[in-house]
């Protein structure tokens, strides 16, 4: 079955160990290619992993969108009120009350932002943990083929960074879009009053947070998986 000349060629090529470069390497380009493969080939799984990021970031951005929209609305109301009470030099009688209400609103918003960050962190960590755990065998195989621990970590970090970035962008768009729609139904000219510079800043910050959280969440499971002895990694049954 084997053609002898092929077998000979196989061993002629580089049979001299002395000439072969003595190194173990995984160039970044190759690592990125493999990670990309992992994401695109397991798109369904990647989407589920990414969904954790998308939901968390969507929540965060929706809260921020609401904040910007409410600020915009408050400003428009204030201006309208100013237009009506232009002649009066005294403050409107309800001003003190409005100020208190404003403070309560700010506190509520901070609380929501903290909650949404927590939700993002938990969702992302959980997704990353699962996606690493279900690939223990693959990791064991790679180690058998000569992968160093750091290669495994590198592959997972690239993957989670890509997933985190894409998921965060998608999440930011979804969260922003939905919340904006809600406010548009309340007050159709809200977009004109919103501080768009501030909004963009919030979206940017949310994307950075999402990517960073994804990276951070992938480190512990990736390191744990990479440190496993190949024999143990190969024996795991999922």
């Amino acid at each position: 079955m084997i053609k002898p000349e092929l077998a000979r060629r196989m061993y002629d090529g580089e049979s001299d160990w002395g000439e072969v470069q003595r190194q173990i390497s995984l160039p970044w380009a190759e690592a990125a290619r493999i990670s990309y493969r992992n994401v695109t080939m397991r798109l369904g799984r990647a989407l589920i992993t990414g969904a954790g990021v998308v939901l968390g970031i969507a929540f965060l951005v929706s809260v921020w969108t609401a904040k910007v929209a409410q600020d915009g609305m408050a400003q428009s109301e204030a201006q309208r009120a100013r237009a009506i009470t232009q002649e009066e030099t005294e403050l409107a009688p309800g001003a003190e009350e409005a100020k208190l209400e404003e403070q309560a609103r700010a506190a509520r918003q901070t609380w929501l932002v903290v909650m949404s960050l927590l939700v993002s962190a938990v969702g992302i960590t959980n997704s990353m943990l699962m996606s690493v755990t279900e690939r223990f065998r693959e990791i064991g195989t790679m180690k058998c083929l000569g992968a160093l621990d750091e290669f495994i970590v590198r592959l997972f970090l690239i993957e989670s960074a890509v997933l985190g970035l894409l998921g965060s962008i998608a999440g930011a768009l979804v969260g922003h879009g939905v919340m904006l729609l809600v406010y548009l139904t309340k007050q159709s000219d809200v977009a004109a009053w919103m501080d768009w510079g501030q909004m963009l800043e919030y979206i940017g910050v949310a994307v950075i947070i999402g990517t960073f959280l994804s990276l951070l969440a992938a480190v512990p499971p990736a390191v744990r998986a990479a440190r496993m002895r190949p024999a143990a990694a190969l024996q795991t049954e999922i």
Binding site: A7, R22, R37, M41, C144
Partner: protein, 302 residues
């Protein structure tokens, strides 16, 4: 020849190890060279040039013990295994399940550490190797074949075969050529770009065989390579392994309880209850079986 980089000016010098000053800036290179030499010496120990060194035994285990900790209970899997594997031989490790075959396989392959005792590959004690050297050994010296094939599911046949070559630092073009050549060698020249799930079990195992050969290993370790295959496909894989063993002189160690494997083995090691029960030489055994791959498994006994 090696490439070293001058720490002063970054000039890259190609040398066999005799320069002491940088030709560009005159900086002292002795420290760099010494470090390089140290590294090389250790690696050379692991990867002694086959043409130069002639240790009779490519793998040697001495009083190998392995105890698994199952919660409170200690389960001994290996109880002092002594095994010598000759260069270029086809060795089968036989034994019932739970006899310690796979554990022994893992120790020899550097996939797990023994509780007690030592395992030598090319007379290098594996316990002495650091993570880098161990990875290097797995990458360049040993090829693994598993019962469950263990191909990377998201990669094509060719990518699976070239993965160890990436780790070995081969250039992309060489990699593709060699990968295609190896797949051709195992009879899958037409299926380079198929994914594992598009291949039959036998074909997947062929990809695994090609992958095991990726970096010209000195040893191929096969853990029940026919365990998940039907009779005919299993026989084809065995024939393929035997041919590789004969053509290229690669040492083949196979854990199995497939009787077909005995037919082609040079020696059969019977493992029972974590110990080597007996070793059979094929030459001593079936003097009457003239041809390899005869249909019936020969009878064995002491």
């Amino acid at each position: 020849m090696a490439e070293i980089e001058c720490p002063e000016c970054g000039h890259v010098i190609e040398t066999t190890g005799l320069v002491t000053v940088c030709p560009e800036c005159g900086a002292d290179l002795r420290e760099v060279m010494e470090e390089l030499g140290h590294r090389r010496e250790r690696l050379r120990d692991v990867a002694r040039d086959d043409s130069v060194t002639t240790h009779e035994f490519i793998v040697r285990t001495k009083d190998l013990h392995k105890v698994y900790q199952m919660g409170e209970v200690e389960v001994p899997a290996l109880k002092g295994v002594e095994l010598n594997v000759r260069r270029g031989e086809y060795l089968s490790i036989m034994g019932p399940s739970g006899s310690g075959k796979t554990t022994l396989f893992n120790m020899v392959g550097g996939l797990d550490k023994p509780t007690k005792g030592t395992c030598f590959i090319e007379e290098v004690d594996m316990a002495q190797l650091d993570a880098f050297e161990l990875a290097w050994l797995r990458c360049r010296k040993i090829g693994y074949i598993f019962q469950t094939f263990n191909l990377i599911p998201v990669m094509t046949a060719l990518e699976n075969v070239t993965l160890p070559m990436i780790f070995a630092g081969m250039s992309s073009d060489d990699m593709m050529d060699r990968g295609a050549m190896l797949l051709d060698l195992v009879g899958l020249g037409e299926r380079l770009h198929h994914k594992p799930y598009e291949l039959s079990g036998g074909q997947q195992q062929r990809v695994a065989v090609a992958r095991a050969l990726a970096n010209n290993p000195a040893i191929i370790l096969a853990d029940e390579p026919t365990g998940n295959l039907d009779l005919q496909t299993g026989k084809e894989i065995i024939d393929l392994l035997k041919e590789l063993n004969q053509e290229s002189g690669v040492t083949l160690i196979s854990a199995t309880h497939d009787l077909k494997m005995i037919d082609v083995s040079d020696r059969v090691v019977h493992v029972r209850d974590g110990q080597v029960e007996r070793i059979e030489n094929r030459a001593d055994l079936d003097l009457d079986v003239g041809t390899l791959g005869s249909e019936s498994a020969p009878e064995h006994g002491e």
